[in-house]
Each structure stands twice: as structure tokens, then as C-alpha cells.
């Protein structure tokens, strides 16, 4: 078994396994980024998404962006700081 956990990461039929903010997450196959944000109850206008190291600057593309197995997403926002 690999360190990434080949067994745990194996997707069930009809779902995709990816990493969101460093944690494994399973989403229905065919989900778009917009679907994922909606399922997380996040307003796309208040977050920034980085996919596999690339910042997705065009929020209008979220609805057509299909998420793939092993994608690594970082979803960030502004918090209090100095």
C-alpha cells in the first residue's frame, strides 16, 4: 500500500476522490467546481480557488470546470490579520 493510501483513496463507482484543503473528499462523478462550492455552501465570490497549483481567476468558469480524480484544490478566503 502506498503512503497516499491506495485502498482508502479508491473511488466507489460514480464518485471521484480529490483533495480539498489538504483533506480527502469524495464528490459525485461529473461534479463541477461550482457544484463542489455549492455543496460546501461557499459563495464563489468570497473565495479564491487554486487547482493543482494554478489560481482560477475567472469565476465564471467554475460552472463548466469538471473536477477530476486526484485534483488538489485549495480554497482560501480573507480572515482577520495584521
Amino acid at each position: 500500500m502506498t503512503e497516499s493510501g491506495g485502498i482508502v483513496r479508491e473511488a466507489m463507482a460514480g464518485e471521484v476522490v480529490l483533495a480539498v484543503n489538504g483533506a480527502e473528499r469524495r464528490i459525485p462523478q461529473g461534479s463541477t467546481l461550482a457544484d463542489l462550492l455549492a455543496s460546501l455552501e461557499l459563495d464563489a465570490r468570497t473565495v479564491v480557488v487554486e487547482r493543482n497549483g494554478t489560481i482560477l481567476r475567472d469565476r465564471s468558469s467554475f460552472a463548466s470546470l469538471d473536477l477530476a480524480a486526484d485534483d488538489s484544490l485549495e480554497i482560501v478566503h480573507f480572515v482577520g490579520g495584521g
Partner: protein, 271 residues
């Protein structure tokens, strides 16, 4: 000099507003948004400070929603100028990544650039800071570079394209006030870009003394947020920044090592 105007005004007016990279700001006091007991207290304190520029940090969304950390649920971005920082970044490439993420939020291309070099002192890694400043300035960012009170680094940051240089008064969160007024004055005298003192201001007198050095502004967070009454301290800081600015513009009297009487020495009884 229109002193009548000054006296009749409820508060003295600054003859020159703070301008950074062509953008005019309504206050010389910039404030952070961290460490408040509640979001309501943070908003009240920011309002009391009169600040326009408020700093924010970029962090992962807490997907478990254990707490409401999203600052934009509380701060109206139309009313404040959001200045994202790269706090917590310990090398140039992380800081650059955070700056790019912040810009993608879509508010502006400004960043308060921090590249920290030491976990304990939170002093900047000036080499990484210079690299990141150059890269981000080339990408069109307006970089306000948090640095130490070293003149040569400040000059290099200006050369690298920083639109403002932010030397510390003392370490972040220390509240020790300005440790080296000579260094701060020298940086202000030698740089063309605005100098905003960032970090270390602990109370209103600290802020006033910093402004009396002639710097263009102050950024603070803990000095307000960690006060017993943050809202009152925010108001005090507002007054102190304005007082210090006016004292600088007014020009202080020379220091003398001897007493000089204020009252006439002649006309005493029995003379």
C-alpha cells in the same frame, strides 16, 4: 499661514493627504483585523480608528465551519481599502503565492508583503523580501514591504519596486514602541516612496512619537486589539497619529540642556 482656518476647524486638517502609488487615502492610520474578541468589536474599533486601509490575511476556508472566520461577512469592501498581507510566509515563493491568491479575490493588486525569517522574533528575511518584492512588482502588484529598520534594505526595496516601505517600530505584537527613532528618521529622509511604520506600537504615545519622526503613516493591529478596551484605544490611536503628524508639521522647539524661563526675568518686586 491661515491660522484662523486652523483654529476654527474642529480638528486640524492635514495639508497633504497620504498618497501611495497615486492613490489618496483618508487616514494615515492603517489597522489590522486580527486578534479581536469578536467581529462586532473589530468593526467598532476600526470605525473608531478612522482607518481606511485595513489588512487581512489569506487562509484556507475552514470546511468544517467551526467558526465564522470570513472577514468579508463583516467588512464592507466598498467602505474600506482591503490590504491583504502575506503573514505566516517564511520564504519568497510562499509569499508570492499568497499575494497572487489575494489578488485573485478581485479587490485590488496591493499587498502588504511579509517574508518572515525567524519564528521567534518574526523579523523579516530581507533577502527573500527583496526577491518577492521584485517579482511581484514586475507582475503589477503594489507592494508595501514590511521590513526591519535598516536603511540599506529600505533603499533596496524601493529600487526593487515597492510603492511603500514599512519598517518596524519594534517586533510584531511586542508593543515595545519605537526602538530606534534615528533609524526610522533616516529611512524617511532617504526614501522617495512613503514610509509607513508597521508593528510594535503599544499605546497612543508610541504612535504619536512615531508620527513625530515625519513618517507618512502607521499600521498597527495588536496595539489596538490587545488593549483592555480596543474601541477606546482605536480612538486614542486616531488622535495620536493626527497629533504626531501635526507636531511634525509644526516643527518642535530645539532641545536645550539648560532651563530657559518662560516668564519675564525683569520687573520682579523689590528689584
Amino acid at each position: 499661514m491661515a491660522h484662523a482656518d486652523l483654529i476654527s476647524a474642529a480638528t486640524l486638517t492635514d495639508p497633504q493627504p497620504l498618497v501611495i502609488a497615486g492613490h489618496e487615502f483618508r487616514s494615515r492610520l492603517m489597522v489590522g483585523t486580527g486578534k479581536y474578541a469578536s467581529n462586532a468589536q473589530m468593526i467598532d474599533a476600526i470605525e473608531a480608528s478612522g482607518a481606511e486601509v485595513v489588512t487581512v490575511a489569506v487562509r484556507r476556508v475552514d470546511l468544517d465551519r467551526s467558526k465564522d472566520e470570513a472577514i468579508l461577512h463583516h467588512l464592507d469592501p466598498d467602505h474600506f481599502f482591503l490590504l491583504a498581507n502575506t503573514a505566516g510566509c517564511f520564504n519568497a515563493s510562499d509569499a508570492i503565492r499568497y499575494a497572487r491568491l489575494a489578488r485573485a479575490a478581485g479587490f485590488n493588486e496591493w499587498v502588504k508583503l511579509e517574508v518572515i525569517g525567524d519564528q521567534q522574533s518574526l523579523l523579516p528575511d530581507t533577502i527573500g523580501l527583496l526577491q518577492a518584492t521584485k517579482t511581484l512588482a514586475d507582475e503589477g502588484f503594489k507592494v508595501l514591504a514590511y521590513t526591519n529598520d535598516d536603511l540599506v534594505t529600505a533603499l533596496k526595496l524601493e529600487d526593487a519596486g515597492a510603492v511603500a516601505v514599512m519598517p518596524l517600530a519594534s517586533p510584531i505584537g511586542s508593543g515595545l514602541g519605537m526602538l530606534n527613532p534615528y533609524a526610522i528618521r533616516t529611512i524617511k529622509q532617504r526614501l522617495s516612496v512613503p514610509v509607513i511604520v508597521d508593528a510594535g506600537v503599544g499605546t497612543a504615545s508610541d504612535a504619536c512619537i512615531v508620527m513625530e519622526q515625519g513618517v507618512d503613516g502607521i499600521l498597527m493591529n495588536t496595539g489596538i486589539a490587545a488593549a483592555q478596551d480596543p474601541v477606546r484605544m482605536a480612538a486614542a490611536m486616531k488622535g495620536a497619529v493626527e497629533a504626531g503628524r501635526h507636531a511634525y508639521l509644526a516643527g518642535r522647539m530645539p532641545r536645550r540642556e539648560v532651563a530657559v524661563p518662560s516668564s519675564p526675568t525683569t520687573g520682579m518686586l523689590g528689584s
